[in-house]
C-alpha cells in the first residue's frame, strides 16, 4: 500500500497518495519487519539532508545511530519499529534530538504499527518540537524570574486565573496573613480573607477593572482578615498580565494598617487640640464674664459715690453700703484672679505649696466667717478645740471657702450649711461641708471635678473651683470627694493625712 518510487519490488506507485504524503509537514518513514526502511516522505528527506543516512532499503537502526544524538532515547527510537512489529504494542512515543550546524534540534517520534507489503511493519512520524520547547523554556524562565522578583517583595503579590482562583502567591502572603495560595481555590468574593463589609465593593472594583481596557487599576483600599483574625488595611493595585501563557490578574497588595493608624491618631490629636482650644476659648469668655460682673458693681458704686459725696443732704448709710460693696467686690475680684493664677501655675507645672504648721480648726473658722460675711447665711461649725497639721494654710482656706461658696450658691437662703472638722483616726483630719440644696444631677456627677465644667444650673463661676480645690488637696496627699445624701443636698469631704509627705510640685 505504501508508494515506494525507489523500490523496484513493490507495487505500482500510487501517485496521489505519494503527493499527499510529500505535502505533510511531519516527517514520515515506513520500516518493515526486518528493520529496513521502505518509505520516506519529502519532509523526512529534507530532514535527513545531504548526508542521506536514511535510504530506501537501508537499515533504519543504523541510520538512527548516525543521525541522532547518542542516548537511551535514540536506542529506543532505533529499536522502536522492531518492538512494534514483534511486540503487542501498537504505539510508541520517543523524544529525540540531533545536531545541526547551528546547534541542536529536538523532536518527538511516534511509532505506530502498519502493514508493509503484506507484513506487519511500523510507521515512524517525527515532529520537530524545537521551537515549542524553546518557547516553553522561555515561559518557564520568565516565570522563574518573576517569582524570584516577587517572592522577595515585602508587598503581597498574588495572581488569579480567569476563574478567580489564586494560582500563585508570594511568600509575603503567608508571612503577613497566615494563608497560602492553596487556601484560595474559590471565587475571590467568597473567601474568608476579605472583610465582609468590603467584599462587595472590592468585587465591583475588580469587575469594573476587568471590563475596562486599562492594563493597571487604580488603588483600592480595603480590609483583609488574617488567619489569626486580625483586621489589616491594605492598598492594592491590580494588573492584567499573561501568566503561564494565559490571561490572569496580578494583585500587588501593600499593608497600610500602620499608616492608617498613624493618620487616624494624628487626626484624633488634631481634633483633641481643636477641642482643647475651643474649651479654652469658652473658658476665657466665661472668665472674662466672671471678672466683669464684680467690676460692674464696683465701678458703678464708685461712680455713684463720686457724685453722692458732694450732695446735700448726705445719705451716710447708703454711702457706707456702697463702700462696703466696693470692698467686697474687690475681694471677690482678687479671689478670681488668684484662681486664674493658680490655674496658670498648675498648667505651667509651677504650682508650689507652702506648708507650715497650722491649726485646721482656726483656718476653717476663718473661712466660715468670711463666707458668712459674703452671704449672710447660717453656717454651723462642729470641731474639736484644735487640730494641728503641716499644710499650706492659705490654699486650704481657699479650698474650704470654695466649698462654702458652692454650698451657698446651690442651696436656698433659709437652709443651714453645716461644717465639721474631725481628727479621727489620728493620722488624718477631715473637713466636711454639708448643704441642703439642689445637689448635683446624676448626669453631672462624673464631671463634677473636671476643669471648666459647669453644671446645668448656670450659677456663674469659672468652673475652676473644684478642679483647683481637688488639686490642692491631692498635692497634700489627701482626697476631695463628693457625696449626695438621699435626703438631698451635697456633702463635700476633704481628707488630708497629718503625717504625710507634702508634695510641692507635680510628679
Amino acid at each position: 500500500m505504501w508508494p515506494s518510487p525507489r523500490d523496484e519490488g513493490s507495487r505500482e506507485p500510487d501517485l496521489l497518495l505519494s503527493s499527499i504524503l510529500d505535502a505533510l509537514v511531519d516527517c514520515l518513514a515506513v520500516v518493515d519487519a526486518r528493520g529496513t526502511v521502505r518509505y520516506l516522505n519529502a519532509a523526512w528527506r529534507r530532514f535527513d539532508g545531504d548526508a542521506e543516512y536514511f535510504r530506501i532499503g537501508g537499515d533504519f537502526a543504523r541510520a538512527c545511530a548516525l543521525k541522532f544524538d547518542a542516548g537511551e532515547s535514540r536506542d529506543m527510537l532505533a529499536g522502536g519499529p522492531r518492538r512494534i512489529v514483534t511486540g503487542r504494542r501498537q504505539r510508541l512515543e520517543v523524544e529525540c534530538s540531533w545536531p545541526v550546524p547551528a546547534g541542536r534540534r529536538h523532536g518527538t517520534a511516534t511509532i505506530t504499527a502498519c502493514e508493509v507489503a503484506g507484513e506487519r511493519g511500523a510507521m515512524v512520524q517525527l515532529l520537530d518540537v524545537t521551537e515549542r520547547i524553546q518557547a516553553d523554556a522561555a515561559v518557564r524562565e520568565s516565570e522563574a524570574r518573576y517569582r524570584s522578583l516577587v517572592d522577595g517583595s515585602p508587598d503581597i503579590v498574588f495572581i488569579t486565573d480567569s476563574a478567580s482562583r489564586m494560582i500563585y502567591a508570594n511568600r509575603a502572603l503567608e508571612d503577613q496573613t497566615g494563608y497560602t495560595a492553596a487556601d484560595f481555590q474559590m471565587r475571590q468574593q467568597d473567601n474568608p480573607f476579605l472583610h465582609p463589609e468590603d467584599s462587595e465593593r472590592v468585587a465591583q472594583f475588580i469587575a469594573a477593572f476587568v471590563a475596562s481596557d486599562r492594563k493597571h487599576s487604580d488603588r483600592i483600599e480595603n480590609r483583609f482578615i488574617t488567619r489569626s483574625g486580625d483586621v489589616q488595611w491594605y492598598s492594592s493595585v491590580i494588573s492584567k498580565i499573561q501568566y503561564m501563557g494565559s490571561p490572569a490578574l496580578q494583585f500587588v497588595v501593600h499593608n497600610i494598617t500602620e499608616q492608617r493608624k498613624a493618620e487616624q491618631e494624628s487626626a484624633a490629636r488634631y481634633r483633641e487640640a481643636r477641642e482643647a482650644i475651643e474649651v479654652r476659648d469658652e473658658f476665657l469668655a466665661i472668665a472674662a464674664h466672671e471678672l466683669k460682673t464684680p467690676l460692674t458693681s464696683l465701678r458703678g458704686f464708685a461712680q455713684w459715690l463720686a457724685t453722692a459725696v458732694d450732695r446735700e443732704p448726705c445719705d451716710r448709710a447708703r454711702q457706707q453700703r456702697a463702700l462696703r460693696t466696693i470692698d467686697r467686690q474687690s475681694a471677690k475680684l482678687a479671689r478670681l484672679i488668684e484662681q486664674l493664677l493658680d490655674l496658670a501655675r498648675l498648667q505651667a507645672g509651677k504650682f508650689e505649696l507652702e506648708c507650715k504648721d497650722a491649726d485646721i480648726v482656726a483656718l476653717v473658722s476663718d473661712a466660715v466667717e468670711s463666707a458668712q460675711a459674703r452671704s449672710d447665711r447660717m453656717i454651723t461649725v462642729t470641731a474639736p478645740p484644735s487640730v494641728r497639721a503641716c499644710i499650706d494654710a492659705l490654699r486650704l482656706e481657699a479650698v474650704v471657702g470654695n466649698l462654702l461658696d458652692n454650698a451657698v450658691k446651690f442651696s436656698p437662703a433659709d437652709r443651714l450649711i453645716e461644717v465639721e472638722v474631725r481628727a479621727e483616726p489620728a493620722d488624718r483630719f477631715t473637713i466636711v461641708v454639708r448643704d441642703h440644696g439642689i445637689g448635683v444631677p446624676e448626669s453631672d456627677r462624673a464631671r463634677l471635678f473636671d476643669r471648666y465644667f459647669q453644671g446645668a444650673h448656670q450659677r456663674g463661676g469659672m468652673g475652676l473651683g473644684l478642679t483647683l480645690s481637688r488639686d490642692i488637696v491631692e498635692r497634700q496627699g489627701g482626697t476631695l470627694a463628693a457625696e449626695f445624701p438621699p435626703d438631698g443636698g451635697t456633702r463635700m469631704i476633704v481628707t488630708i493625712p497629718i503625717t504625710s509627705d507634702v508634695k510641692g510640685s507635680p510628679p
Partner: protein, 127 residues
C-alpha cells in the same frame, strides 16, 4: 423726668441690682429687681408694669433669652428691653434676641442713665 419711670432690673447678681437701684433712684426712677427671668415675669404678672427692662442674659432658672421669648409672647404692652451683658459681644447678643438696646458690662453709670432715659422718654411720650 417729671414722672417716675419704672425700671425692672433682671440680674442674678444682687450687688449689681443694688448699684443700679442706687443710681437710678437718684435720677427719680422707681426700680424693682428680679434675680432671674421667672421672678421678673412674676413681678410683671403681679401688676408691676415696667417702662424699661434692664436684662442680664446669663441667669439661673430662666435666662435672658427665655425671658424675652416668654415676655414678648404675652399680650402687649411690652416695655423696651435693654440687654445688659458681660459677654464678649453684648451687641450681637442683643441683636440675637431682637432687643431694643444694649449695654456692655462693666459700664459707666452715665451710659446706664442715658439708656434708661432714652427708652423711658419715648415710652412716656407714647403713653
Amino acid at each position: 423726668m417729671t414722672t417716675h419711670p419704672r425700671v425692672l432690673v433682671v440680674d442674678d447678681d444682687a450687688e449689681i441690682s443694688e448699684m443700679v437701684r442706687l443710681v437710678l433712684e437718684d435720677q427719680g426712677c422707681e426700680v424693682a429687681a428680679a434675680e432671674h427671668g421667672r421672678a421678673a415675669l412674676d413681678q410683671i404678672h403681679a401688676g408691676w408694669k415696667p417702662d424699661v427692662i434692664l436684662l442680664d442674659m446669663r441667669m439661673p432658672i430662666m435666662d435672658g433669652r427665655a425671658f424675652v421669648a416668654t415676655y414678648r409672647a404675652e399680650p402687649p404692652p411690652h416695655a423696651p428691653i435693654v440687654v445688659v451683658s458681660a459677654a464678649r459681644d453684648a451687641h450681637a447678643l442683643a441683636d440675637s434676641v431682637s432687643a431694643d438696646d444694649w449695654l456692655a458690662k462693666p459700664y459707666d453709670v452715665r451710659s446706664l442713665v442715658d439708656v434708661v432715659r432714652r427708652h423711658t422718654a419715648s415710652e412716656l411720650a407714647s403713653r
